[in-house]
Each structure stands twice: as C-alpha cells, then as structure tokens.
Subunit: 250 residues, 2 copies
DNA sequence: ACAAAAGTGTTCGCTCTACACCCATGG
DNA sequence: CCATGGGTGTAGAGCGAACACTTTTGT
C-alpha cells in the first residue's frame, strides 16, 4: 500500500532493525497536572482513527529504564521526572493487526511485549512533540479519553490504578506543583488524582506528619483573600520517602 | 570451546531461534513451603559455579503469562499455582558474560530482558526437574541461599519483598497448605514468610474476619493433644479477595 | 493430669474521620 | 466585613498489639 505513512514506516523499520532490540517496546502513561485537572499525553497516529500512548523501542545499547526516560523526553522535553515501571504486557495479539495494511516485513508488525511506565509531570512545563508516525500529540482529560488503540486502554487503566494505590505509601507532588506551593494546592492535587474530596484539617495534619514539607516564611500575596503559606518539598526526606515508602503493615 | 554444555547450547540455540521470541526471558521465583520453612527453587548450571532461578524463553506463539506457567510447570510439574508478575529487569549487562566462553553466535549470549514472576507452592507436591542446561534443581532455604549468578539475587530480593508486601492485601495459603489445615498451620505459614512471630489471638480474629475460611466439623485426630479444628479455604471469597484485595486507604 | 488448641474478653494506644471552632488577613 | 486560609480540638469508630482467662479434648 502506498501512502505517506507507508514510506515513513519502511524507513523507520530499517532504522529500528539496526538500532533497537526486537520484541520489546516501552509505553509511557504520562500524567499531567495543573490546578484544575489530571490529563494524560496521547498521540494520534497518522491515517488511523484513534489514539495511542507515547511509546517507542528499546535501543540495543541502553538500559530499560534509560529507554523509558529517553522516550519520555523525546515527547515532552522533560527529563527531570518521576518515572515508575508498573507492569509488562505480553498478550499474543496485543499489537497484531495494527499495521495490517502495510508491508508485511515491517518491524512494527512483529510481536512486541510492552513494558509500561507511568510518569507524573506538570503539563505547563511540557511541550508535546509529535514523532514520525503521529500527527498530533495532546493532553486529554482522563475522564474524557478518546478511543485508544491496541491494548492501550488496558495499559492506561493499570497505570491509573497503580498511581492511586501509590498515593498510600509514596509522596506525590515534586515536579508536579511549582517549586513553591500552598497547602490548598497540594490538597487539590490529591483530590484530582483520587477524584474525591478530602478533609482539609486531616489532610493538613497528615502531610505535616510525613515530614516532607518545608514551610517557608513567605506567603502568596495578591490573591483576593488571606495570603496562604508557601511550602517547598524537602528534597531529602521526600526522596527518602519515595525509596522506602510511608508505612507497611504486619 | 568443546564441552558437553557447549554442544547442548548449540543445539538449544537453534531450537530457540526457531521457536522463541528474541530479547525476552522469563524468570520464576518459586517459593515453596512446608510446615517448617520457606524455600526457593534453584537450578545449578552445568560447568558453572553458582545457581540460577528457573527460567526460560517466551515462545513466539504464546501469551506472556502462559509462558510463565509453562516454564513453571516444566520445572515443578505443578500447574495449579498462584503466579504473580512483579517486575521486569532490563539492565544492559544483566546476562552478558554469562556464556562468554562459548560460541559467540549463541542464542543465549544475546541480550535479554527478564520478566519476573513469583509463585507459591507446597513443595511436598513438587518434583523438581532439571532441564537441558542444569545439573541439579533443588529447594534452598531462603536464609541460606547459595551464590546466585547474573542478577538473580536482585530478582529474588524483589520477589521476596513483593511477597511480603502482598500479605497485607492478598490472601495466602491456597495450594500451599494441604486442602484441610488447622489455624496453627496457617499462622505458621505467615510467620515463616514474614520471619517473625505473630500473636495467636489476633491472628485468629483477623483471619476469621477476612471471611475466606470454611470451618469444618472435623478435627485433626491423632496428635498428642487436643484435636485442632480443620479449615478449608472458601474458594469463592478467597479468589474474590485475590482479585480485589483486602483494603486500600484514602 | 497434662499440654496443646480453641475461643473469647479486655485494655491500651494509635489512627482516621468528621466536624467544629478560632484566628489571621487581604481586599 | 467576609471569604479564604491556617491551625487546633475533639468525639467516635475501628483496629492492632498484648495479654490473659477459660474451655475442650486426645493421650
């Protein structure tokens, strides 16, 4: 079949056969946050009617995790980011048929497992970039997702579940919120991720007790009301908590 | 280099090139339990000084999870088993050098990612089987592990951590304990996995409350003392709990 | 009789929840 | 003044830890 995409795929196929490890792909669920909502970065494939999570192939000469960071950075321009492997997807026909109308020797038509990573970022910092086979790369609200192709809905669902479970024993917020932020902003982040309201007083105490916050002497002036306190994350205790978690029973 | 193993590898190499997906391997951390201790199934590689987790390659025509079950069954003869994917390992040199002295075109010398699964079984039911490149397959106590080759110590550690964390929100015991078992036996299982003593009364209440146990009218006769009550797992609620977990905060 | 097992009660301390109250302060 | 933010108090529910008491029962 002759089309713009067909040509691109052929060329890309050669490059990947040379450079990438067969059978392995990486898909990234990039969650973005601003003051109002939680979104996910999706790409629209050329000549296809549907969207995909940004992904790519692992180079022969790079570590798995480095591959995930590279793919992520190539789409968002963001390198300092929280990235978490959550599951590997390996059903037989997960990506079959996808390029069925194109050249049968195509790299892309082979069988791939996909290692799923999720990332969290502030989408104000991100410049979504399309790649060779996409015609768009956009933030989509997680409550209004378009149709996802292949098994990417399943991958997304697993990532969201992991993200929410992770809130129980991992801190969240660094690189999502601005450097300096207020307690209501932090609470809003949690509420948006969990999609439910939280009690203010309890949230305040909980966060304070975790010991990951530095309270600054400054306040945020200029609002219509009382100037709220500003906080930063304490990089040391925050990272310590990321490593070791907040609690664990038994 | 000429050796028994070298010949085997060459032959196996051809088979795998034909039959298996490149770049992917599966390693299984098979935990075994009897009334006294927690062990893990290890294999001793021919002509090598050290042990490995049982593993294998994913066939081109099978689902990832099915591959894990197949590999597991080929080593243990056990098919009804709890199997849980926990992490995928993809460092660049994780399996390099391992067959360094053998033919450079060998399948086995390529780069592989390894998808880690852990399994739980009663090792009384298992008949460990050696495979083509191992000279032994044995249960080893987890507190006295021999030297593990490649990155298999790291894989094992990650599996044990996951297993222990899992006890907080997943039931354990089905297929590990005999069909009918007593409360002290169940408690012992938990204590061995967690490597610490638990309070009897609290344990009794906790397990009872989970609602995954059927209390039988029978007791275990023949012991030196009072005949303990026998229980079975309630397959329905047990599996329901496996799926959905016991709790989750927020 | 003895010892293990079974079942239950109780106390203490902690955490989470929900709600409420008070103060501060920018406009 | 008032809306928002900050901080604290507290009552109630629930749970886990620890311990202890009682009963059952096989040998």
């Amino acid at each position: 079949m002759r089309s713009e995409l067909a040509d691109i795929l052929l060329k890309d196929s050669e490059i990947n056969i040379e450079k990438s490890l067969p059978s392995i792909s990486i898909d990234c669920v990039v969650f973005g946050f601003d003051t109002a909502s939680l979104k996910v970065l999706l790409t629209k494939v050329k000549e296809k009617d549907g969207w995909l999570l940004p992904g790519g192939y692992l180079h022969k000469s790079e570590n798995l995790e480095d591959g995930a960071y590279r793919i992520l950075e190539s789409r968002t321009g963001v390198s300092e980011i929280y990235l978490q492997q959550f599951k590997t997807f390996g059903k037989l026909n997960r990506s079959n048929d996808f390029f069925s109308e194109y050249d049968k020797n195509l790299w892309h038509k082979r069988r791939f497992l996909s290692v799923g990573y999720y990332a969290l970022t502030n989408f104000a910092k991100v410049e979504p970039k399309i790649d060779y086979l996409s015609e768009a790369c956009e933030w989509k609200n997680i409550n209004e997702l378009p149709q996802l192709l292949m098994d990417h809905q399943e991958i997304f669902d697993a990532a969201l579940l992991e993200l929410r479970k992770g809130l129980n024993y991992r801190p969240v917020g660094l690189n999502l919120l601005p450097e300096k932020f207020t307690m209501p902003e932090l609470q809003r982040l949690y509420e948006i991720i969990l999609d439910k309201p939280l009690n203010r007083g309890n949230f305040y105490r909980k966060m304070t007790k975790y010991g990951i916050l530095n309270k600054l002497k400054e306040t945020r002036k200029g609002g219509a009301h009382k100037a709220p306190n500003l906080y930063t994350f304490n990089a040391e205790t925050y990272n310590e908590a990321l490593e070791n978690g907040f609690k664990e029973a038994w």
